[in-house]
């Protein structure tokens, strides 16, 4: 009954947002599946780009614009390029394929499936029923970029600095070699 009422109150925009969610989710999951299945490491990286893009789209849907663009600029524009660099520098031939044994694949798939079922059942209907506790519809007020920036420089200043220090440490560790 409740859901019907909710359906009726929804505007076209909400339906479009739902459609967009399914599109982005399909892109990211399909690309993630490609990442797992693909044997060619360059293509794996390309599929990762698809996943990152899809997830960035989801962030836009969730009104987390800042995270979406950070995802695009840091992940897709920086980390992924770094990974491709690593691939190019470490593979003698572009088609370097190391195939794991079949038994390992089956085992991994089984473990993965088990994990998925476990997590899903836990979050949806277990003791910790997150979804039930959450609001049915997204909250009207979603944090703006300025709020996020302010939080980063006030409440979370120390973790932010530590985070930056970690990046600096990574840089220093690289140069000492």
């Amino acid at each position: 009954m409740d859901s019907v009422a909710a359906e009726q109150g929804r505007s076209l925009k909400d339906h479009m947002d739902d459609l967009a969610f399914y599109i982005f989710a399909a892109i990211s999951v399909a690309s993630a599946f490609g990442v797992v299945v693909s044997q060619n490491i360059v293509r794996t990286a390309l599929f990762l780009l698809g996943t990152l893009g899809g997830v960035a789209g989801l962030y836009f849907l969730l009104d987390a614009n800042l995270i979406a663009v950070i995802q695009l600029i840091v992940y897709a524009g920086g980390t992924l390029i770094l990974i491709v660099f690593g691939i190019m520098l470490t593979s003698k031939s572009p088609w370097a394929e190391f195939k794991p044994p079949k038994s390992q694949i089956v085992l991994a798939a089984f473990v993965g499936l088990l994990m998925f079922i476990g997590i899903t059942s836990l979050t949806l209907s277990g003791e910790v029923n997150w979804a039930a506790r959450a609001t049915k519809t997204p909250l009207a007020t979603s944090p703006k970029v300025a709020e996020a920036g302010e939080a980063l420089l006030t409440t979370y200043l120390v973790p932010f600095e530590v985070d930056l220090t970690a990046i600096g440490a990574a840089y220093l560790a690289k140069t000492e070699k």
Binding site: L89, K92, F98, K99, P100, P101, K177
Partner: protein, 398 residues
């Protein structure tokens, strides 16, 4: 895992000392890259095999022979007068100078030299120097092109067009002239040639300063060429380099300043690399020597044109040139081509057809220094160095 077998599994106990590992940030692979024969920066069909490590070029080996046309062998089957067109096709950017070298070699061999009139000699000098300007213009323009500056190339070709028009008016051809020939020049100068040439020189001289502003003193250009591809004077002499490449290394040697060159009465300087922007003998020095030589050639042409005025009516083509019998003697004669010393060795046997014709090409001799200079340079420098040596593959392969 037993089912994974790498083709070239390295031995982990291999003799890779820890020092080596610490020195290198990353083990890189050397790569063999073919630069040419079809490559925009090799000025024709030069093939340079580069052994590279990333952007560094460890070794550059020029391979030649893609444009071989048996030019010397043909010289043994035709009379000298008939061989003149073949010399055009050797250094196709400086056809007049090639004609001149071979014609003078044959004239010296047969003793025809003494019968050449003053006017002929002056016309030859005018055309040789005009062609030097044209050739240096191409060199200047394509050098800019090698370094990514497209515009100077078209400016240079615009100016070269005027020179080619002058040549066309005199002999009808714009690339393979065969104008200077055994016994003189094929035709006397056309009407108003001297005036138009003076007009051209007045127009051209300030342009050189414009080019210096545009390219020679451009900061990026200097950064790309100064201290790059340094050839010391000793190396230049050791490798038998000649022309602007030799003078760029600081050696003041120009055949035109030698006695018997025909240039004794002309007043001109020989530009020499000073190391103005970097080291003596770097790419910039070789480049600026060419640009300055254009101005010196302008000086020579002006003086020659002044002298030409008093020689109206003299014979310009000796009739004996066509029916020459070569004595059973040999001669080696060389002149200063735009690219260096172009020498012809001719041996006759009493008939009209020489026994042996051999050319000493400046591009060929200058090219051999590539391997020495292109050690441990960047990939972009290879184009800069080959461009500054300025080879014409037609003459290298002959």
């Amino acid at each position: 895992m037993a089912d994974v077998i790498l083709e070239s599994q390295p031995d982990i106990n291999a003799d890779l000392s820890s020092d080596q590992i610490q020195q290198q940030d990353l083990q890189t692979e050397e790569m063999l890259v073919n630069m040419g024969p079809q490559h925009p920066a090799t000025h024709g069909v030069l093939r340079v095999v580069l052994r590279t490590d990333g952007e560094m070029v460890l070794e550059a080996v020029p391979h030649i022979g893609y444009l071989h046309r048996c030019a010397e062998k043909i010289g043994e089957t035709v009379a000298p007068y008939q061989y003149i067109p073949y010399t055009d096709r050797m250094d196709y950017l400086a056809g007049m100078n090639n004609n001149l070298a071979f014609a003078q070699a044959v004239e010296k061999l047969t003793g025809l030299e003494s019968e050449i009139t003053e006017r002929t000699k002056l016309i030859r000098i005018v055309f040789a120097e005009l062609n030097r300007i044209a050739s240096h213009l191409v060199s200047f323009g394509t050098y800019g092109l090698d370094l990514g500056a497209f515009t100077p190339f078209l400016y240079a070709f615009r100016e070269r067009e005027y020179i080619l028009d002058l040549f066309e008016s005199a002999c009808g051809a714009r690339l393979t002239y065969s104008y200077i020939t055994v016994g003189g020049v094929t035709d006397d100068l056309p009407e108003r040639f001297v005036d138009i040439t003076r007009e051209f020189l007045d127009y051209f001289e300030p342009k050189v300063h414009e080019y210096n502003l545009l390219l020679s003193h451009n900061h990026i250009f200097i950064k790309r060429t100064a201290n790059v591809g340094v050839i010391t004077a000793q190396e230049a002499l050791d490798y038998g380099l000649s022309g602007p490449v030799l003078r760029g290394s600081g050696v003041n040697f120009d055949l035109r300043k030698q006695p018997g060159s025909g240039y004794e009465e002309f007043d001109f300087n020989v530009p020499v690399g000073q190391g103005e922007k970097g080291t003596v003998g770097d790419c910039w020095d070789r480049y600026i020597v060419r640009v300055s030589e254009m101005l010196e050639s302008v000086k020579i042409i002006r003086q020659a044109l002044d002298k030409l005025d008093g020689t109206e009516g003299q014979e310009t083509l000796h009739k004996k040139g066509k029916t020459l019998k070569l004595p059973a003697d040999e001669i080696y004669y060389e002149i200063e081509n735009p690219r260096g010393q172009l020498g012809f060795f001719v041996r006759g046997n009493g008939s009209a057809i020489p026994d042996r014709v051999k050319a000493r090409g400046p591009s060929f001799c200058n090219l051999c220094v590539t391997e020495k200079v292109c050690e441990d340079v960047l990939l972009g420098d290879v184009a800069a160095i080959i461009g500054s040596i300025d080879v014409v593959m037609g003459e290298v392969d002959r």
